[in-house]
Symmetry: C2
Subunit: 236 residues, 2 copies
């Protein structure tokens, strides 16, 4: 309930169980058959290493340019060991993307369920999205950058995910518009604009970091900007 009202990032971070270990445990359990390692503690520990290393290396040079030998160096594992955890480079990419999408969807759904008015829901969705993208920054960046290099099926999933988030905003804008709370000319375009602002946080994080702007300040600014654009009545 209300993980991030008033923009408390720290409390969000604690209440949302989205550590890398959490994610890797899920991945392990879903892929028990493919993964050749039987002891869960060992497997999860190394999966964390592998995924973190993949995200870090890809952030620097891109997934395609990252070699599995780079990955060996970074994780301390050998080529042979790596192949005990995933069946090939392409699959490694897909597993990371799939699991991340699920996690994000789950958290967004939860955040919305506990809000009431359209404006509260929009505000919560914005804050939650920005906070999640802060915690899982490397994943978000990765996911955006690699989207164009995927196979046909994977690309569809990525697009669906993008449109899913946007649809949440479109529906909320429509609802608030019908209730007469917002004054909006074009809900679809407005939702696109919101998405663009959300994305900027993880695409240009270096910039905001350098300027000393915190996640909470950014979220506040975005919520405020949206309230001006849609002319929400009871905006804080």
């Amino acid at each position: 309930m209300n993980r991030c009202k008033q923009g408390n990032f720290e409390s969000f971070k604690k209440s949302a169980a989205l550590s890398m270990e959490e994610i890797c445990r899920e991945i392990y359990q879903e892929n028990r058959d493919r993964i050749r390692i039987k002891k869960e503690t060992v497997a999860v520990k190394n999966l964390v290493k592998i995924f973190n290393a993949t995200l870090a290396l890809s952030a620097k040079k891109g997934f395609q340019a990252m070699s599995l030998r780079d990955l060996c160096r970074e994780t301390g594992l050998s080529m042979g060991a790596l192949y005990a955890y995933f069946p090939g480079k392409e699959m490694l990419l897909e597993i990371i993307l799939l699991q991340g999408r699920r996690m994000v969807k789950k958290i967004l759904d939860e955040a919305l369920a506990s809000e009431n008015t359209s404006w509260e829901k929009i505000s919560a969705a914005v804050r939650t999205h920005i906070y999640v993208s802060e915690v899982l920054h490397e994943w978000f960046f990765f996911s955006f950058m690699e989207a164009k290099n995927l196979g046909k099926e994977e690309q569809k999933a990525a697009i669906a995910s993008e449109l899913f988030t946007e649809k949440i905003f479109i529906d909320l804008l429509d609802a608030g518009s019908a209730e007469g709370i917002f004054k909006i000319e074009n809900p679809v375009m407005t939702a696109s604009l919101i998405k663009a602002m959300l994305q900027d946080w993880y695409l240009k994080r270096w910039k905001y970091r350098k300027r000393g702007i915190s996640v909470e300040e950014y979220a506040d600014f975005v919520v405020n900007a949206i309230s001006k654009i849609i002319r929400v009545a009871e905006a804080v």
Copy 2:
């Protein structure tokens, strides 16, 4: 003068001499020493082929993943011929990025020079940027996507270019604020927001295409959204 007042994209396209051929002629003349082809007509014709093919292939799989053999297939040239035009894959990347940045800067500077009030300048800068990114869409996408894979010096240039555009908006917002025309809480953050909207046009073009939104509609929407956020008095 006033290339794109009232958002006339077609007239902008004509007046701005930024065809690929134009760009390639400049590149050829600046790299006469490195390029082994003497006849300008032949050289420029093939440079156009090479750069267009590079942008197209990179859009699909990324520059790193694009092989020079892919490039041969796409251009109809052989490996040997390619190396008569550029000294290596890395340099090809740098040449494309450098020349594009120059072109964009030149056009933006020109567009601003012919406007008067702060709001007119902001509006013109927004429209011009969106229109340029429409004409040179592939270059903009390429430039954004490959930025992280560059060498140290090239990366600095890319960041400088990003901040340069943003600075234009920060200064204009400050100026209008001082004149009492805008009501802005945070010019730096507002400029970031504007940049995010500009970028969305070339990062998510597939989405806008699918929805049948034209460049002009998008530019109108962005200008309008900005006017609401900064509460400009004489906004249309």
